[in-house]
């Protein structure tokens, strides 16, 4: 059998292969040769064969038949064999092959070998791919080597110990005594790996962490020496002395100083020193500074140090090196919540990064920009962000649009600005806007009553040219349907009113219906809009009838259903049509989105938020539901239990609109019982478990004094309380509203909101008219769930008509007697 070819020959041969197939052929031939050579148990050439096998493995070809050979090599006496054998073991073997256990004995012997390099090989292999069984068996040997004076072995043993700890965490205790002297080493290699070992131990076990805290002074000293010592050629990298070690120590200090005041204080000086003295012209210096910044941010550092850290990050942002800017943006994103003001100072630089070419940098700059928007800078920031939306890659558009909507909602300085911003987003990125944005936008538009004409005009103009962006078209259709009369009558105050005829409006809506680009949902919107216009337009009703009847035979089932129902509305129920298609009422909320009403402190709204758990369609303002149900004839109405409107901005819009949207479409199911939409307004289960709608308990607590919650302009509201002994976290408040003026108060609506830890439920009032001269009262029941027994506070809103004008008032009730909530 001729001698197997050398590795170099093999490589040369393979490189001459011109195609993949040719290469495969060569490899297969060689594999066959190697296999037969293995069968012959040839000791001399085994290492050569395994080397070739490893090469082929690296190229991607299967090499598992060499695993046993690796073991044989490890068992051999020659260093060369062992070297290749261990390398092969690391590459070819892992925990999943049972074969690897056979190595354990070899490794054990080699760990005690006389040659340090053999010991090193064994440590290396164990540290790379040792399984937990192997680690358990050999941990003792590793620990012994950790205490040796040979620095070459010591550093390898340290990393091996890290691996052992990772595999078998219980063995951590075993290495504890050996760590005592590790930091006293002079050899940087050992120092480095020791710090890694200590880091691993501290990360894994809080006890170890506490134990090692006492090392902080020593670490600080080592770091100081590194910085202060002059040029030391062996560890120098670009003029800085052993930066890797510095970074490692900084990371360990971070872990030790976290949540611990004493350690943090001990580190303050050295961190400031590193931050100020490190050269920043090369990447190395920046790496150290970066680690320092991360450490400062994580420990309990004093504010001066934090500002220093953020300034360093700000400097990074101005650096030409993209990597450094990327790193700075990532860190700033992490700190913007806690050190908001300091980061604000660098806002303009961050905004500049939006224009960078690099995708990763752009993404981070975008996220950071959104985090920095606040009431003061919203106009400027929005301008930049809208420009960014225009020019950014498609993958960003959806996130950017959502972000802009959120920020605009929170900080809009005026309604007109808000609507303009939304329009801009819809027109630039209309096809990327998320689906849930549409209901939110619609709700927003309905809320800004005075802007209706302006809004509908702008939307109309927007889709005139191009109706392919679905979200835009949906919002526009809805608005045109609602406010088409304003559009046609040219009533806009905010800008030059345009002359639009009814036919033109219908043209555009019909084109939307016909267009292939319109999604099914969009078509639905358009059809409904056309239908609504039948009451708002005067001269084109016949045309509308025609359109609606055409779609009665549409293939799209949803369209067909709507068209058929609308048709029926025209034919049999024409008398109901005007009432049904009436203008949508403005959706009320206790907390509005305008900045005037919400005080943002650390991102939490101070005003109360109502959290309820009923199904979304169960939420609705009391009045609207009642009004609509009244319209529908009033027969078969199940008692509606209105809940106070939720003030969660995003969801409220969506849920309200879902319900109203449903009512819009399905309530016109003439012929089916009127109560079909109503059962969705089910009773929220949480407060009423086992309780009837009667508020009175049989086992009430001892009498709780009643209070006068509100007394102004002749309207007086009293609260009386009841609590149950069996369910002490529920307080039932009965309000009584009386009117001492000489005229009745009509359309009285009482709304209430409570802080987040409470839950509130409003039952229906007895009536909506408070007769004059205290001759009668309105009673209404409120149930409050107070599981945390916190002090009861409530904000109430009252609306009513009095003396011909609409009155509205907000008040806070703070004088609840302690017995009502304790």
């Amino acid at each position: 059998m001729p001698a197997p070819i050398r590795l170099r020959e093999l490589i040369r041969t393979i490189r001459t292969a011109r195609t993949q197939a040719e290469e495969r052929e060569m490899i297969q031939k060689e594999c066959a040769a190697i296999r037969s050579s293995f069968r012959e148990e040839d000791n001399t050439y085994r290492c050569r064969n395994v080397a070739k096998l490893l090469y082929m493995h690296m190229l991607g070809y299967p090499a598992h038949f060499g695993q046993l050979e690796c073991l044989k090599l490890i068992a051999s006496q020659k260093f060369t064999d062992k070297r290749i054998g261990y390398l092969g073991a690391m590459l070819l073997l892992d925990e999943r092959q049972d074969v690897h256990l056979l190595m354990t004995n070899c490794i054990k012997n080699d760990l005690n070998h006389s040659t340090q390099y053999v010991q090193g090989l064994a440590l290396c292999t164990l540290g790379c791919m040792g399984s937990s069984e192997m680690c358990r068996d050999l941990a003792g040997e590793v620990e012994k080597l950790l205490k040796t004076s040979n620095s070459y072995l010591r550093k390898k043993a340290a990393l091996c110990a890290v691996h052992v700890i990772r595999k078998v965490p219980e063995l951590m205790e075993m290495f504890l005594p050996a760590t005592k002297n590790l930091l006293n080493e002079k050899n940087h290699g050992v120092l480095h790996t020791s710090v890694v070992l200590l880091t691993e131990m501290c990360e894994r076990s809080p006890d170890m962490l506490a134990h090692f805290r006492k090392l902080v002074p020593q670490l600080v000293r080592i770091l100081k020496n590194l910085i202060m010592s002059g040029y030391s050629p062996e560890h120098d990298v670009s003029g800085i002395s052993d930066p890797f070690l510095q970074v490692r120590i900084l990371r360990l200090l971070r872990i030790l100083g976290r949540n611990d005041d004493d350690s943090s204080e001990a580190m303050n000086d050295i961190l400031a020193q590193v931050a100020t003295n490190t050269e920043t012209s090369k990447n190395v210096g920046n790496a150290i500074l970066y680690e320092t910044v991360l450490t400062i941010m994580d420990i309990k550092s004093e504010s001066g140090l934090r500002v220093l850290a953020i300034n360093i990050l700000g400097r990074f942002l101005l650096n030409n090196d993209k990597n450094i800017r990327y790193v700075a943006l990532t860190s700033l994103l992490k700190t913007v919540q806690t050190d908001h003001n300091a980061v604000q100072r660098h806002r303009s630089t961050i905004v500049d990064c939006l224009k960078d070419l690099d995708v990763s940098i752009k993404r981070r700059a975008m996220e950071l920009s959104f985090a920095l928007v606040n009431g003061n800078n919203v106009r400027g920031m929005m301008k930049e962000l809208l420009y960014f939306l225009d020019s950014c890659e498609p993958e960003f558009k959806a996130d950017c649009a959502s972000g802009i909507f959120l920020a605009a909602e929170k900080y809009a300085p005026s309604k007109r600005w808000h609507i303009d911003t939304i329009m801009r987003v819809l027109t630039t990125a209309g096809s990327y806007v998320r689906d849930d944005a549409v209901p939110n936008l619609i709700q927003l538009i309905t809320n800004s009553v005075e802007m209706h004409a302006y809004t509908v005009q702008r939307l109309y103009k927007a889709i005139l040219g191009d109706y392919s962006q679905q979200s835009l078209v949906q919002v526009a259709s809805w608005c045109i349907g609602e406010y088409g009369d304003l559009l046609v009558s040219g009533q806009c105050e905010e800008e030059e009113p345009i002359q639009v005829t009814e036919d033109e409006v219908l043209d555009i809506l019909e084109s939307v219906l016909i267009s292939n680009m319109s999604a099914s949902v969009t078509r639905g919107y358009a059809l409904t809009a056309i239908m609504k216009l039948s009451t708002r337009f005067t001269c084109t009703v016949n045309r509308i009838k025609k359109v609606v009847s055409i779609y009665g035979s549409s293939i799209d089932v949803e369209l067909q259903q709507r068209a058929v129902e609308y048709n029926a509305l025209f034919k049999k129920y024409d008398h109901m049509r005007p009432a049904l298609l009436e203008r949508m009422p403005v959706m009320e909320k206790v907390t509005t989105n305008g900045p005037a009403e919400i005080v943002q402190t650390n991102g939490e709204t101070e005003t109360a938020v109502l959290e309820t758990k009923p199904p979304p369609s169960g939420l609705q303002p009391a009045n609207q539901a009642n009004d609509l149900l009244d319209l529908l004839g009033g027969s078969d109405i199940t008692p509606v239990i209105p809940t106070a409107p939720t003030s969660k901005p995003a969801s409220a819009g969506g849920e309200l609109l879902d319900l109203l949207g449903d009512l819009n479409l399905t309530a016109f199911l003439v012929g089916s019982p009127v109560s079909s939409p109503v059962p969705q307004i089910a009773q929220p289960p949480f407060l009423l478990d086992g309780l009837t709608s009667q508020p009175l308990f049989n086992d009430t607590a001892a009498g709780i004094p009643s209070i006068t919650a509100y007394n102004k302009n002749g309207l007086k509201i009293d609260f009386t309380f009841e609590r149950s002994n069996t369910n002490p976290s529920v307080t039932v408040i009965t309000i009584q509203a009386s009117n001492s003026t000489e005229l009745d108060m009509t359309d009285f609506v009482f709304q209430a909101a409570v802080p987040k830890t409470f839950q509130l439920q409003l039952l229906s009032p007895s009536s909506s008219v408070i007769p004059a001269f205290n001759s009668g009262t309105i009673t209404q029941v409120i149930k409050v769930l107070n599981p945390q027994k916190q002090q009861l506070r409530m904000r109430i809103k009252l609306t009513y008509n009095h003396k011909g004008s609409a009155m509205q008032d907000l008040a806070e009730v703070n004088n609840f007697p302690p017995q009502s909530w304790q």
């Binding site: 691996h163 062996e234 990447n283 070419l357 690099d358 990763s360 940098i361």
Partner: protein, 191 residues
């Protein structure tokens, strides 16, 4: 910790080191890494967030481009990225020292040596030694050890084959030179 270290040439992919992952995952990861990295422009930053295969956004790819080669490190989330860039630089400089003006061919033909050098620097995904001189010293010592062994091991084989080829005639039993008579011992015949 480092999860993988790769070396890319423009067209060929090589992996140098891997933390335990199955064979197929490794191959897929290599392919995806290669695609991601080779598409990169020259003046973008050297960090890439992992795609789905590379363990998701928890892992980062940090690479450096030297001539026709890419050195790519796959790291867990917590690593200091700038530090890794330095590590790559030290690695390449060490290779340079060991191979004396290392070029691509050196890395191809001496893969095992590259592995050995890497083993002195990184162990189990953690950095072991960053002092170039130290590493080079260790490598040299180990290479010397290897060489000395190969010498000893090679010699007997060479001697045997040399004698085999000598074509000795029959061995004389008695050598008589003048008055001296030397008796030749019975030697086994060479085959």
């Amino acid at each position: 910790c480092e999860r993988g270290i790769y070396l890319f040439h423009n067209t060929k992919l090589r992996k140098l080191y891997f933390l335990s992952q199955s064979e197929d995952t490794q191959q897929q990861i290599i392919r995806e890494t290669f695609h991601l990295v080779s598409k990169r422009d020259e003046n973008v930053c050297n960090f890439l967030e992992g795609g789905l295969l590379i363990g998701g956004s928890d892992n980062k790819l940090i690479y450096r481009h030297y001539a026709t080669l890419y050195f790519v490190f796959l790291c867990g989330f917590l690593r200091n990225e700038l530090g890794i860039l330095d590590l790559i630089q030290v690695f390449v400089e060490t290779l340079d020292k060991c191979f004396e003006n290392v070029c691509e061919l050196d890395l191809i033909f001496h893969v095992d040596k590259v592995h050995n050098i890497l083993a002195e620097m990184v162990m189990g995904g953690m950095v072991l030694e960053t002092n170039m001189n130290e590493i080079v010293t260790q490598i040299d010592a180990q290479n010397k050890l290897e060489k000395s062994e190969a010498g000893l091991a090679g010699a007997p084989a060479r001697a045997v084959s040399a004698v085999k080829n000598m074509n000795l005639p029959e061995i004389p039993r008695n050598i008589n030179i003048g008055d001296i008579s030397i008796k030749v011992p019975n030697l086994p015949t060479f085959k």
